[in-house]
Subunit: 268 residues, 3 copies
C-alpha cells in the first residue's frame, strides 16, 4: 500500500449477537481501545443464531459495496471455545476475519483469495482470554490492530485452505430447467433464491414455479402488476426473488428458506 | 458557505429496511466508498413497511435537532423502480433526499424550502442501476457526493414543487373542541397525537377525551399520578400525548394510530 | 490529563428507548451539534422499559472494555420530570452520566469513584427544556460538552453520595452453599447469574442446582457435551451461566430473571 493510501480503518461487523445485550457494544469498545480512529459499521447483528449459511449469503451480497481496505469481522461461531480456528482472509481489496467454519466460502467461489492466515498470536488478544466470547477477546482487538496496518503475517501462520460449507447451488436438468431454492427471506418478506438472474437474462419465455404457484413472466420492479400479486424478478442481489406487490411474499405464500424454486422455459 | 465552515459530512438515515438484512449496511458501505469521512447516523430503520406518513411524522420531529449541514436520507419507497422521482430539498440549514412521494411534506408546512431538485444525473449513481434497491444505487452515492460538497444543481433540474401527502391535521369545531388523532405510538406505548400543545397551552380547564376515556387535567410528566393511571400531557414533540404512569398506554387502552382524540374545555 | 492525551470524545449510549422511534437518533443529532467530532457508540437501546437493574448489570459488564476517557450515557429514567437528580460520576478512567436512581451503583462496589456531580447548570441544557425527554435536552448536550473537555465542576455541585439500588448479591450458607440468582437472560437464552466464577474457581467437586436441574460438573465452552445438554460454565462476564449446547437455556428450562441458582460441593 502506498504512503498516501487511506488507512484500512473501516471495520464492518456481522454477528448473530443481537442488539439487546452488551456484546456488540463491548466489541466496539475494544476496537476503539486499540484504534480510536476506526470507523465501525454494522452490517447486521440479527443473523439467526448459529446461522453460518445465513451469514455466508448476507456477506456475499454485501462486501463488494464496501471501500477498498475494509476489514470485515463476521462472528457466527457455534464452535467458540473448541479447537476450531479463527482465520483472516485477504483478497485484492478487503480483509475478512471469521471462524474457520465455512462462513467465508463465497470468497473461494468469487476466486478472490490472496492469502489465508490462522489467527494464533496471543499478543493481539485480550487477556484473560475467555472460552465463550472471542468476539470481544480475539476478533475485536485483532480487527483493531489490522485497522492500524498490522500485517496479517504477524497474526499467525499462512494456511493453504479453509473449511468448506455445503452452500446450496442451483442445478440445471437435462431439459434445461433451473432448479434452485430460497436461501433467505428479507425484512419485507421477499423470498431470495440462489438462482442468478444471469442464467435466464433476456429470455421472455421463462416462467417461475414454486410450491403451487406459477409465475408466467418476470417483473422488473416490486410495484409491477396489481396490489397483492405474486411477482418474480431479479432482485438487488442479482438473484431471482419472489415478491408481492405492496405485500409480503413470505406471509402470502408460507414459503421458507430451503423451499425449491424452478425456472422453466414455457414451451417445455 | 464560507471557507471555514464545517463540511456537510453528517448523513442521517431513515428507512423501512429493518436491521436484519444487509440493506442498511450496504448503504453505509457505498457512502464510505464515496466519502470515507462521512459521519453516518441512524435515525431509525424500523419505519413500518411503506409507511410514508410514519416517516413524515418521525422526521418532522427529528430534523431540527441535527447540526447545520446535515444530509437526511429518507427511503420509504413503495414506488421504487416506477417512474416516481427522487428529490433533494434544500432548506436554510439542511438537505433532504427522499422519493417524491410526500414524505418531506412537513417541510412545506414549516415554510423552510429554498430549492427542490429532481435527482437525475446518473453520473452520481452506481452502475449497474437496479430497479429494486435505489437506497444502495442512488440515495447512498448521491448522499456521499453531497457530503463532499457537491452542489444540488449538478444532480438534476430544479423543480417547482413536490408531491403532497394527506397528513391528518387537527380541526377545531364551532364549539372550540380540538379534534385530532393518534399519529404514532412509541416504544413505550405512548400515544402521540397531531394536536400541538400550543393550541391549549396555559389553559387549566381543558380535558382530553378519546375512546371511552376522559382525562380531566393535563399532567406535566410521565411519573405524575398513581401507577397505572392514564395521563395526558404535552410530550417532547410538542404535541399532546396519552401515556400511563409506569405503564403502556397502547396496551392499557387498545388505542392505535388513526384513533380520534378531542381536547374540550370542561365548561362546554 | 496531559496536553497530548486523546480528547474524551468517545460517547457510549445505553437506554431503554428502543430503536424504532426518533429518540436515539435525536440524541445523536444533539451530541453532534455540540461536538461534531464525537465518536458515538451504541451499547444497547433494548434495556427492558424502566429496567434500572438490567442497565446496572449490563453496564457493569461493559464499561471496563472501553477506552480511557469514554463518556457513558445511561438513560433508564422512570423518574424523568420529577425531582430526581441527574448525576455525573468520574472514575479514574471514565465519566458516567445517569439519573440518580441507583443505575450506577456498581461503581461503588468496584470502588472506583473519584467524584460525583449533580448536573444543574442549565447553560449546558437545550432550551426549551422538556419534562419528558431529558435524553435529548440534558444528557445529550451535557455529554457533548464533556466530550469537548468541559470539566465536571462547571456542571453543578459536587455531592457526597448517590442513590442506591438493591442489586441482588449472592450469599453463602453455613454449609458453604453459594446461593445466587439469574440476573439476565441474553439473546442466545443463556441464563447469567450473579455468582462470580472466582467463588468456586478451580474446584472440580461443585455441582450447580436450579429448579429441578442438577448439573454435575462445570463446562468450559458452550459446545461441550451433547447437543441439547444443559451446561453450567463461567461465562464472559466472569459469572456462572446456565447454557444449552446448540440450544436455548431459557426456552429449554423456562427459567427467568430472579430464579435461584445454587452452587454446592458434591460431598455435602
Amino acid at each position: 500500500m502506498g504512503a498516501m493510501a487511506a488507512p484500512p480503518d473501516v471495520i464492518a461487523l456481522l454477528t448473530d449477537f443481537g442488539l439487546k445485550d452488551h456484546y456488540v457494544g463491548v466489541m466496539k469498545g475494544v476496537i476503539l481501545g486499540v484504534n480510536r480512529n476506526a470507523r465501525i459499521i454494522d452490517i447486521s447483528h440479527d443473523i439467526p443464531t448459529q446461522g453460518i449459511l445465513d451469514a455466508y449469503f448476507l456477506l456475499s451480497n454485501t462486501y463488494s459495496y464496501f471501500p477498498e481496505g475494509t476489514i470485515f469481522v463476521a462472528v457466527v461461531d457455534p464452535g467458540v471455545g473448541t479447537d476450531r480456528s479463527i482465520i483472516a482472509v485477504q483478497t485484492g481489496k478487503h480483509t475478512f476475519l471469521a471462524p474457520d467454519n465455512g462462513l467465508l466460502g463465497f470468497l473461494e467461489k468469487d476466486d478472490a483469495i490472496r492469502r489465508i492466515v490462522q489467527i494464533k498470536n496471543r499478543k493481539y488478544f485480550l487477556e484473560p482470554l475467555s472460552n465463550t466470547f472471542h468476539g470481544r477477546d480475539i476478533f475485536a482487538p485483532v480487527a483493531g490492530h489490522l485497522s492500524l496496518g498490522t500485517d496479517l503475517s504477524l497474526l499467525g501462520p499462512e494456511i493453504g485452505r479453509m473449511e468448506k460449507i455445503a452452500a446450496p447451488a442451483p442445478k440445471v436438468t437435462r431439459e434445461g430447467v433451473i432448479v434452485g431454492e430460497i436461501v433467505s427471506v428479507d425484512h419485507f418478506g421477499n423470498l431470495v433464491t440462489n438462482i442468478p438472474g444471469s442464467r435466464f437474462a433476456g429470455s421472455d419465455t421463462v416462467e417461475v414455479r414454486f410450491g403451487k404457484h406459477v409465475i408466467g413472466r418476470l417483473a422488473t420492479s416490486y410495484a409491477e402488476g396489481k396490489k397483492g400479486q405474486i411477482l418474480a424478478l431479479v432482485g438487488s442481489t442479482g438473484n431471482l426473488e419472489i415478491s408481492v406487490n405492496q405485500g409480503n411474499a413470505r406471509k402470502k405464500t408460507g414459503a421458507k428458506v430451503g423451499d425449491g424454486v424452478r425456472v422453466v422455459h414455457r414451451d417445455k
